[in-house]
């Protein structure tokens, strides 16, 4: 059973104590940092991949989140209580920054290889087309709407967890989720019409 160590206490991983993890983080305890990374990297990475399609960019962003965690905790601006919410909130900001930069310096996405597209089965082609339509429709949403969908449906977070990451009240998250789904549905329809 893996343990980590902080404030003189060895803590089994499954009994992850957030406060002790935060203390260890401030002390730059290698073991604690490793445990935090192992615990939260998958969630951070999946969240980024939901928001961004580029795998390499997603890796860079997810990596950057944990470096910022170290730096912020050393400057006294790190998480004080809810580590996961801090990480996901920071991730959201980094993704938003990346998207802003991308909008300013747009790059043309290379079309999928036509020969490859021709050689794949019809069902698979349909699936890829639907994913592409969905991605395009999703990209048209506001950053907040993208956030709420990524957290609620990509990560499977509860309303409470989502509210904590977005720093909103639960009723506000409910309303945002309603509007995000409605807008996404409209966008998907528009993208499908464009393709016809």
């Amino acid at each position: 059973m893996a343990c980590y160590y902080s404030q003189g206490i060895a803590i089994p991983m499954q009994n992850f104590d957030e406060q002790q993890a935060l203390d260890g983080l401030r002390e730059l305890n290698s073991h604690v940092i490793g445990v935090i990374y192992d615990r939260y990297f998958p969630e951070v990475y999946r969240y980024v991949r939901y928001r961004l399609t580029d795998e390499q960019v997603a890796e860079d962003v997810a990596s950057d989140v944990f470096v910022r965690l170290l730096e912020a905790s050393q400057k006294g601006r790190g998480p004080q209580s809810n580590l996961k919410a801090w990480l996901l909130s920071t991730t959201s900001h980094i993704v938003a920054d990346h998207l802003r930069r991308s909008y300013r310096r747009p790059t043309e996405t290379l079309p999928e290889n036509l020969l490859d597209m021709a050689s794949i089965p019809h069902d698979e082609f349909e699936r890829r087309e639907q994913t592409r339509e969905f991605r395009k429709a999703y990209a048209e949403l506001t950053p907040e709407q993208q956030d709420v969908l990524a957290l609620r449906f990509g990560q499977g977070y509860s309303l409470e967890e989502t509210a904590s990451v977005l720093k909103k009240k639960i009723n506000a998250v409910k309303a945002l989720q309603f509007r995000a789904l409605a807008a996404l549905q409209r966008n998907i329809g528009e993208v499908a019409n464009e393709n016809e």
Partner: protein, 384 residues
């Protein structure tokens, strides 16, 4: 009302999460089905994009990079603090040196075997402080502190063996037993009562602690205060030297060397200790520095002179290693396995000029204990 729509949608989403179909969910809200159906279908579609696989190779490399970055940040913090501490230390140092020169030179050596309660004991402790002030590298400091911690434990053990009571002692060690008010800390019987000041958190078995108390004639230390060892402190000794020699007539004494009841993730006593009569321990951790056969792993200095290194060890590598404490309190590694390497860009050679990989020995490990997976090195992080 708009809020009702939000709540209804949330109820429908929860029902979908619980495995209900869209149609069965909509049957509960027939008058809103037309509006809700596309939203629920969109929500289902939105859910299919999640759960992408995490790139394991990248994760491993990135983890090592992060831990290395943390080690660098820790190192960069140290010099500034040391400089601040240097001047007050120098002032104290000069005063103590002057006092010692004026006094007899034999005083220090005579005080070496003193124990708490002896007249020369304050001289012994002062001299220890002076020696520490002359040490300017973290490695040497940690080793010396470890020796002193071992000495404190030996003194407590000796006091109990002699039956000397009412002597105040402070020592650090590892909690190896907790039965009601009868504890053992690195083999020293400690009596814990309602009047003992304990830290807020729970003290678990294998937790390193500092015990302050009074020796009693029944062979126990009556604890006045028990504190969790602060990060940055040297690894506490696990047993007093020569603990097996304690008087067996003493009900609280131990006639055999202590085998700490270590949970997983703590130093594991090895049944087949290969180094004479030393107890063998197994740790895992991250290599943070490699200098002059003294490596730092998770903030702890270990000696690698006699180590067989299996694999390509680098800064940032995850390693499992086995070794023992020598009589000076140093941890001597006799076998080290690299479980995952750091980046090749950070690969280093030791100061002897040779690769840290031991080509003649790598891979020929045999006879030793198999490292336990997931063991953590239960040492406080060096964070002075």
């Amino acid at each position: 009302m708009k809020m009702n729509e939000y709540d209804i949608l949330e109820e429908c989403l929860k029902a979908l999460d619980n495995g209900q179909t869209v149609e069965s969910v909509l049957a509960r809200y027939p008058d809103r089905a037309r509006e809700l159906r596309p939203l629920l279908n969109t929500a289902i579609r939105a859910g299919t994009l999640g759960g992408v696989p995490v790139p394991e190779q990248f994760q491993k490399r990135d983890r090592n990079r992060l831990i290395r970055r943390a080690a660098e940040m820790r190192e960069s913090k140290r010099p500034a603090r040391r400089m601040i501490l240097l001047f007050p230390r120098l002032a104290v140092l000069l005063g103590v040196i002057g006092a010692l020169i004026l006094s007899s030179t034999g005083l220090v050596s005579a005080s070496g075997s003193s124990i708490p309660g002896d007249q020369l004991y304050p001289v012994k402790r002062t001299w220890e402080g002076v020696r520490l002030l002359f040490v300017f590298t973290s490695q040497e400091r940690e080793i010396l502190q470890s020796q002193y911690e071992q000495e404190r434990l030996n003194e407590a053990d000796e006091l109990l063996n002699m039956g000397r009571s009412s002597t105040r002692v402070t020592f650090s060690g590892v909690v190896t037993q907790q039965q009601d008010g009868s504890w053992k800390v690195s083999g020293i019987p400690v009596s814990v009562s309602n009047s003992t000041t304990l830290p807020k958190g729970t003290i678990t078995d294998s937790a390193p602690v500092v015990v302050t108390g009074i020796t009693r004639s029944n062979g126990v230390v009556e604890a006045q205060e028990i504190q969790l060892l602060q990060p940055g402190a040297p690894l506490p000794p696990f047993e007093p030297e020569g603990s097996g020699e304690r008087d067996s007539s003493n009900p609280a004494s131990m006639s055999t060397p202590i085998t700490p009841a270590m949970p997983t993730g703590s130093p594991m006593p090895q049944p087949s200790a290969p180094q004479d009569q030393h107890s063998s321990y197994e740790f895992s951790g991250i290599v943070e520095s490699m200098q002059n056969n003294v490596w730092t792993i998770n903030g702890q200095s270990v000696r690698m002179d006699q180590a067989r290194v299996n694999g390509d060890a680098q800064i940032g590598s995850s390693v499992k290693f086995q070794g023992y404490y020598d009589t000076n309190g140093e941890f001597i590694v006799y076998e080290l396995d690299v479980t995952s390497s750091g980046d090749s860009s950070s690969s280093r050679r030791n100061d002897n000029g040779g690769s840290l990989v031991s080509p003649t020995r790598a891979g020929d490990k045999g006879g030793g204990e198999t490292p336990k997976p997931g063991d953590g090195m239960p040492t406080p992080e060096s964070g002075d």
